[in-house]
């Protein structure tokens, strides 16, 4: 199924943004909102393969993603970030797309590990999708196999920067 809407993670603007005088109130408000959003990134509890283990490690005492306000929620409806942690196989493609679409906007995607980035060690396999960006738009690619928890946190920090920068540039997503 083709994704027709929202391929670029840029949702339609809210009524407030559409009606307010552009550039006057919206920018500051947007930046404030972006600050809130980036400080409260809730990932979907979602592990595909080996990378999931390091992803779990990221939430664990030694790394503690909770410090950044990152707590997982099991339902896509309450999540902001989807961490695709692991190999995306063709059978899993549809569920991933569906879960992504079920997340409310604004939403972001982190492709964790080389499998999610471009197939990694399985890029030649008949059943593996070469990178989750064939299915859903990805904001941050975290390389590594698996990436260390620090690398994932680095990814989160970069995502935070991106959110703030996008708000500055007037984009919503």
């Amino acid at each position: 199924m083709e994704i027709t809407e929202g391929w670029r993670n840029t949702p339609r603007a809210s009524p407030f943004q559409r009606s307010a005088v552009p550039g006057v109130i919206t920018t500051n408000a947007d930046q404030l909102v972006a600050m809130a959003r980036k400080s409260s990134l809730w990932p979907l509890t979602f592990g595909l393969a080996c990378c999931a283990i390091e992803m779990i490690s990221t939430y664990m005492p030694h790394h503690d993603a909770d410090r950044f306000g990152i707590v997982t929620w099991p339902s896509p409806r309450q999540s902001d970030v989807m961490i695709v942690a692991g190999t995306v196989v063709k059978k899993m493609a549809e569920p991933i797309k569906l879960l992504y679409e079920q997340m409310p906007a604004p939403k972001w995607v982190i492709a964790m590990g080389s499998c999610a980035t471009n197939g990694g060690p399985y890029y030649r396999s008949y059943s593996v999708v070469m990178g989750v960006d064939h299915l859903i738009p990805v904001d941050i690619y975290v390389p590594g196999c698996p990436p260390r928890p620090e690398a994932l946190m680095d990814g989160f920090l970069k995502l935070q920067k991106k959110i703030q920068a996008d708000a500055r540039e007037g984009q919503v997503g």
């Binding site: 199924m1 929202g6 949702p11 407030f16 896509p76 569906l98 679409e101 939403k107 919503v172």
Partner: protein, 122 residues
């Protein structure tokens, strides 16, 4: 006293109104502020990533009903107990024993339900 009564409930009504207003305000604010994106497909109910056919309800297990019913019965009982608790010391001794009988009868019901296995899930 009368005034106090009316005041009390006015205030509580105001409380309800404030609650409604604030919560409604939250909804409206979120309606105004939140971006839109969801596609038709994104609004499919969540089923762990699998697209399942529409589902509205299913017939549930009868046990839920039994518990609900028992709750209803005990709630009604509580309605009788509330006036009793505040007067039984002052009223005649008969009132106290009356309630013991009342409780006894209902406890019999509870025991019966227990023996019949209605109080355990299985």
């Amino acid at each position: 006293m009368v005034e106090g009564f009316a005041d009390n409930w006015t205030v509580i009504a105001i409380g309800g109104a404030v609650g409604l207003l604030v919560i409604g305000g939250m909804f409206i604010a979120s309606y105004l502020l939140a971006p839109r994106q969801s596609s038709e497909r994104g609004r499919i109910p969540y089923e762990c990533g699998i697209e399942t056919p529409p589902f509205s309800w299913s017939r549930t297990n009868i046990r839920y009903y039994v518990f609900g019913l028992a709750f209803l019965i005990f709630d009604v009982e509580a309605v009788f107990l509330f006036p009793w608790t505040v007067i039984f010391l002052e009223a005649a001794a008969a009132v106290f024993y009356e309630m013991l009988i009342f409780l006894g009868i209902l406890m019999f019901g509870l025991t019966y339900a227990w023996r019949k296995g209605a109080l355990s899930w299985k």
